[in-house]
């Protein structure tokens, strides 16, 4: 590996100052499960590595039904699974985080790092999009809020400027009778990068069992994660019967633009988008039916 300088700020301000001072020469370090591999491969060669894990604001999970969820960007994936509120109110996002790599990886890798790495195949991103997560980004000129679906711009690239940090995710509190789900297809049963990932969040009006809100998002089938707006729209106002869910699946396939690569063919991926969309919408709807968030 090339020689690096290690910085260990304990406040957001200090971290931002470091990022501003070094610009392109600095890279934020969260779990390290992407960055360390990239540095070893010579793909990224930052002179400064800024460790974010000792900044308390980035390590917090705070949830209330009223205000929703604030998830620090450097919270390790495993902590979502260990958190009872996360499992109960955001089971899709939680299961997405619990699918990243192995337990060893989950104890280090963070949801924030998963997003900032900008891989179109990242597992947590569709789940974040589905629950309507927004990113609080902090830079020397102040703060901005970016919707997760707008965060990634190309494979490995995000809207984050070199002097900015992702500090936390802001996720709305779950509406009554809403829930989420995430599934991915991998050839083995663990350890693989998603060949296709689909996240969905559904809100139901139990009186007539109609869907009142839906967000479907896709991983690994385009240059960035995809918020499948049309597919989401096909569900809204409808009863989620087989025909409706099939329409959503077809719309999700239409929203995807997968490629052939060593993890799967485009043809296979399109097919799986359909399969997983059906499965995930069904699970999210089931969870929404039984959820008692109020």
């Amino acid at each position: 590996m090339h020689a690096i300088n290690y910085e260990n700020p304990t406040t957001v301000d200090h971290a931002v100052k470091l990022m501003a001072a070094h610009g392109e020469k600095a890279r934020a370090l969260s779990g390290g499960s992407d960055l360390i591999i990239q540095m070893r491969a010579g793909v990224r060669r930052p002179a400064y590595v800024v460790d974010l894990k000792n900044i308390p604001e980035l390590r917090k999970i705070s949830f209330s039904l009223q205000h929703g969820l604030r998830l620090g960007a450097a919270v390790p994936a495993i902590e979502l699974h260990e958190n009872a509120d996360m499992r109960r109110y955001y089971p899709g996002l939680t299961e997405a985080a619990h699918l990243i790599g192995s337990l060893q990886i989950q104890s280090r890798a963070s949801v924030g790092g998963n997003l900032c790495n900008g891989s179109p195949a990242a597992d947590t991103i569709p789940a974040l999009i589905a629950v309507g997560a927004k990113c609080r980004v902090v830079g020397p000129k102040g703060e901005r809020i970016v919707a997760v679906e707008d965060f990634c711009t190309a494979p490995g690239r995000t809207v984050l400027q070199p002097d900015e940090l992702l500090v936390e995710f802001q996720i709305p509190g779950p509406a009554p009778h809403s829930s989420d789900a995430y599934q991915r297809f991998i050839p083995r049963n663990e350890m693989d990068i998603a060949v296709v990932g689909v996240g969905a969040a559904i809100t139901l009006d139990l009186a007539d069992d109609r869907c009142t809100a839906a967000r479907i998002a896709l991983a690994a089938v385009g240059p960035t994660p995809i918020f499948a707006k049309e597919a989401s729209a096909t569900l809204i106002g409808k009863k989620l019967d087989a025909a409706t869910i099939e329409k959503a699946a077809q719309a999700a396939i239409a929203a995807s633009s997968p490629i052939d690569d060593m993890r799967g063919t485009a043809e296979f991926r399109r097919h799986i988008v359909g399969v997983l969309t059906k499965r995930v919408v069904t699970v999210a709807a089931e969870r929404a039916r039984v959820s008692s968030s109020r």
Binding site: M1, H2, A3, I4, N5, Y6, N8, L29, G31, G32, S33, I36, I37, M39, R40, V49, D51, K53, I78, G101, S102, L103, Q104, I105, S107, R108, N189, E190, M191
Partner: protein, 163 residues
């Protein structure tokens, strides 16, 4: 080039200080600086688990942690698994069940298994397999490893002391 840093950490229950460059990962420092070669290098990408250690109670790949990140943490490696009175139950069961052939993956498996049993003393077989999915073994097909961990859990549940 960055100067070396002094890092203070708790390693297998003892306070330890070491010197390292920022670019060195924890695995390198354990093996080369501290001469604890029990943790192994298999891939350096977090895909094989041969370097698994326990950090603040959770299993982690020491190849994906910079050594400087060990500052103030509690690290457990294979060298600390056996107690003053003998082997940990897991180690004993691995031997009894012949759960190792070449043995290179064994330290990683033992640490992952310990992290599992410390949190979940009565895991089901699927839970064991999920917890060990980040540790690759090419020799055994995992069968005897899973039996050994299952047996260790039973033994510990019956009140035996771990080590």
């Amino acid at each position: 080039m960055a100067k070396k840093t002094v890092v203070e950490t708790t390693l297998n229950g003892e306070t330890v200080e070491f010197l390292c460059e920022p670019r060195e990962c924890l695995l390198e420092v354990l093996r080369d600086e501290l001469e604890l070669t029990g943790s192994k290098e298999g891939c350096l990408t977090g895909d094989c688990g041969a370097c698994t250690v326990i950090v603040d109670g959770r299993s982690a790949c020491s190849c994906l942690m910079l050594a400087v990140e060990a500052q103030g943490k509690k690290i457990e490696t294979i060298e600390g698994l056996a107690g003053p009175n003998g082997l940990h139950v897991l180690q004993q069961k691995f031997l009894e069940h012949a759960a190792l052939q070449c043995g290179i993956c064994t330290p990683g498996f033992l640490m992952s298994a310990k992290a599992l049993l410390d949190r979940n003393p009565s895991p089901t077989e699927p839970e064991i397999r999920y917890a060990l999915a980040g540790n690759l073994c090419r020799c055994t097909g995992y069968d005897k490893i899973v039996r050994a961990v299952t047996d260790a859990a039973k033994t510990l549940a019956s009140g035996a002391r771990a080590a």
